[in-house]
């Protein structure tokens, strides 16, 4: 991989040929070269011409989704996500769209959804050409109690794939910041594909603050509820831990209606963060002791009661992914190195994994939902501020 990193320059030019920069959203960044306007238009037309757009399969606030295929090969299906022009952004393109394009373009991995192309249509809308995912997402599989039964080997295979996607992001200095079952799509061959990079960002420089308003709250780690500004890749590991727990329980492990309730659910499920089990936690801006008496850290025996299906080694992994103190939490690399993936049962082969035939409609649902309802600078849709007033009392 290192070698890949270092190949940057040679590849940059290759990249330009696969992804048209005509009407590029990057034209305001310094590192982009600007081809002459007519050349850009020609490139764009060329790119656009490669695909045939079929019927619309969904529409949402941020994008309409169409089914399509390569002009040259009608059997190679794609989803074309046409981003709607956002009137509240001067550039006409939301930060989320830019992020999504940027990171998807950069990250190429079997477990990360592939962005085939970007082009603009007549009305200046950006079109993302993405892999077509007819089998829906992991959340649908988890929820479909009536038709889908699965076991430990399947859970292990899914966690391996999600773990690889997360590790690959981190290895390339990208935080996903919105990992949850509905953002994990299932390809026709059974592979999982991490999608929706609308909240992703590169790792921060030292002392560079980041927002805590990321990750859908059921999958958000405690440090973000405490408004930590300086965090690391293990925020995504927490989310993966929540996904693992949910795969086993077949319902969300930590949940609540408000942020306050979710934080309380974390404490009830795993224990109260204190200076002893998480040195320095009380210095975080929004740290709050929940109701006394302090709930001690959850023991392994207690976790075994709930997650016995995982076996003792699996429970060890789960607990290490859900460590309250982010410095004690496993990194995405350590997750993959865990004993859990070495012992029996062997993870199920991707092709044998249970999947739900979601069909076109679900493929569209997944894509159009667009990021989450939270994020930086998104006005009314920004996650509600944490209200700790009630708890402080």
């Amino acid at each position: 991989m290192a070698k890949l990193q270092e190949k940057t320059l040679t590849l940059l030019s290759n990249n330009k040929s696969t992804i048209s920069t005509a009407n590029s959203p990057f034209s305001d960044t310094s590192n982009d070269y600007a081809p002459p306007a007519d050349l850009a238009a020609a490139l764009n037309e060329q790119e656009k011409h490669k695909y045939i757009r079929l019927k619309q399969i969904g529409s949402g606030t941020y994008a309409n989704v169409y089914k399509g295929h390569l002009r040259a090969d009608p059997s190679s299906l794609v989803a074309i996500k046409k981003m709607k022009v956002q009137t509240d952004y001067k550039e006409g393109l939301s930060m989320d769209s830019i992020r999504e394009i940027k990171f998807l373009q950069e990250l190429s991995h079997p477990n990360i959804i592939a962005l085939h192309s970007v082009f603009s249509s007549k009305d200046q809308n950006i079109n993302l050409v993405i892999e077509f995912m007819p089998h829906g997402d992991l959340e649908m599989v988890i929820k479909d109690h009536d038709h889908v039964a699965y076991g430990l080997a399947d859970v292990k295979a899914w966690m391996g794939m999600l773990g690889r996607a997360t590790w690959f992001c981190h290895e390339n200095f990208v935080l996903h910041r919105d990992i949850k079952p509905s953002n994990v799509l299932i390809a026709a061959d059974g592979q999982l594909k991490l999608s929706d990079f609308g909240l992703a960002r590169s790792f921060a420089d030292p002392y560079q603050p980041m927002t805590h308003l990321v990750i859908t709250n059921w999958y958000r780690p405690p440090e973000l509820f405490y408004k930590a500004k300086y965090y690391s890749g293990v925020v995504d590991v927490w989310s993966c831990g929540c996904v693992l727990a949910q795969l086993v329980l077949r319902s969300a492990y930590i949940h609540g209606e408000t942020d306050m309730q979710v934080l309380d659910a974390i404490v009830q499920a795993l224990g109260q963060p204190t200076e002893e089990n998480w040195p320095g936690v009380s210095k975080l801006e929004n740290y709050v002791m929940m109701k006394p008496p302090t709930r001690p850290l959850t023991s392994k025996a207690e976790m075994m009661n709930l997650f016995g299906t995982l076996g003792p080694v699996g429970v060890d992994l789960l607990m290490a992914m859900l460590a309250l103190d982010p410095r004690k939490r496993l990194t995405s690399k350590q997750v993959l190195e865990h004993e859990f993936f070495k012992i029996a049962p062997r993870p199920t082969k991707a092709a044998d994994l249970p999947k739900k035939g979601g069909g076109e409609k679900q493929a569209a649902e997944d894509l159009k939902r667009k990021a989450t309802l939270l994020g930086e600078g998104r006005g009314g849709k920004v996650a509600k501020k944490l209200d700790f007033g009630a708890a402080r009392r």
Partner: protein
């Protein structure tokens, strides 16, 4: 509604597979499915053996977590497990509420009694007020212990003739099995004789190599005949069941391929590695500038300076493998560069991972 209360819907006939190990019925003719009345999750016999032979364990079906015991596993009677469960519940209720019409003065009394019993049964089946229904059942059982016993005896007498018929059926099945065993014995004897003949011929001074080859060929030929006969029989059975989708030949190939793949150990990283070519990350670079990061305001959120060292070095070294002549006159991008390179993770990359 209880999460674990839901029972899987009837499974489809085709491609029936074990949800735990994914063995498919069409690949393993002898595969048997088992259920445990604790939760009615089906799994194959070998999964039951593997998971429960060392004592009680959690049900391996995700979302269940009920503790199951080996001894309570059995073959389901019905393909529809929902039905299986209902029948079990009805049997259990009927064993307790076992009065008959003759026990009642009027038909109305009997009907009222049946109505009450049906209410309890229905609630148990539908998972409605289960605790209350169970309590009713227990209370009745405790209060009518004697009566239940005597009613049971009465019912048994009626059943005896039925049982006799079942015994007869069992017997004929045993006879059939015996015949199959005899046949097997015969082939074994055949082989034994062949071997004896060979030894005799060798004693008589025949060419060992030729004789051995001949004998082996004869045996192979006979084995082939038997195999074909077996295949025909199985496929005839399949035709009879109306599910002949796979020939024996196709089946064998598939199994062999699976075994081959199984030999490679699982690699959680799927062939990728995080080795950096141009540097080895040090524990500490002594950059005083970053000492403040150890203060809890910065560190308690999990910020990891090593992630930064890694990135800074990566970016510093990126481009080392590139010759100036190759690159265009663009300035190297700062942050975005890291990922652009990743496009090369595609299979056409010549990198060895």
């Amino acid at each position: 509604m209880q999460r674990n209360g839901a029972v899987p819907a009837p499974f489809e006939d085709a491609e029936e597979e074990c949800p735990i190990c994914h063995s498919k019925r069409y690949l393993r003719k002898d595969m048997k499915f088992m259920i445990n009345p604790e939760c009615y999750h089906k799994m194959c016999e070998s999964c039951v053996d593997r998971i429960f032979s060392h004592g009680p364990a959690a049900c391996p079906v995700a979302g269940c977590n009920k503790t199951l015991r080996r001894a309570r596993f059995r073959k389901p009677t019905f393909r529809d497990l929902q039905m299986e469960r209902e029948v079990d519940i009805r049997r259990r209720v009927a064993e307790v509420f076992n009065r008959e019409e003759v026990d009642f003065d009027t038909l109305k009394d009997y009907n009222d009694y049946l109505n009450d019993v049906e209410d309890v049964t229905f609630n148990l089946i539908q998972n409605i007020d289960v605790e209350e229904a169970e309590a009713k059942l227990d209370a009745y059982a405790a209060a009518n212990k004697q009566l239940i016993q005597s009613n049971m005896k009465r019912a048994k007498e009626g059943v005896d003739t039925f049982r006799a018929r079942q015994e007869a059926a069992k017997e004929s099945a045993q006879q059939r099995r015996k015949a199959a065993l005899q046949e097997e014995e015969e082939t074994r004897r055949e082989e034994e004789e062949e071997r004896r003949n060979l030894l005799k011929a060798l004693d008589a001074g025949g060419d060992a190599e030729v004789l051995t080859r001949q004998s082996q060929e004869a045996m192979r030929y006979r084995a082939q005949i038997r195999k074909e006969a077996l295949a025909n029989e199985i496929s005839a059975n399949e035709n009879a069941n109306g599910s002949a989708q796979f020939t024996i030949r196709g089946l064998k190939k598939h199994v062999e391929k699976e075994e081959e793949e199984e030999e490679k150990p699982y690699d959680p990283f799927d062939g990728l590695s995080d080795k950096r070519e141009y540097f080895v990350l040090q524990e500490d670079y002594g950059w005083e500038n970053y000492d403040r990061l150890n203060k809890p305001e910065y560190s308690a959120g999990g910020y990891n300076i090593h992630e930064y060292y890694n990135r800074a070095l990566c970016e510093a070294f990126s481009g080392l493998g590139v010759f100036i002549g190759d690159s265009s006159d663009e300035a190297p991008p700062a942050v975005a560069s890291a990922g652009a390179a990743l496009a090369a993770a595609s299979p056409m990359s010549d990198d060895v991972f």
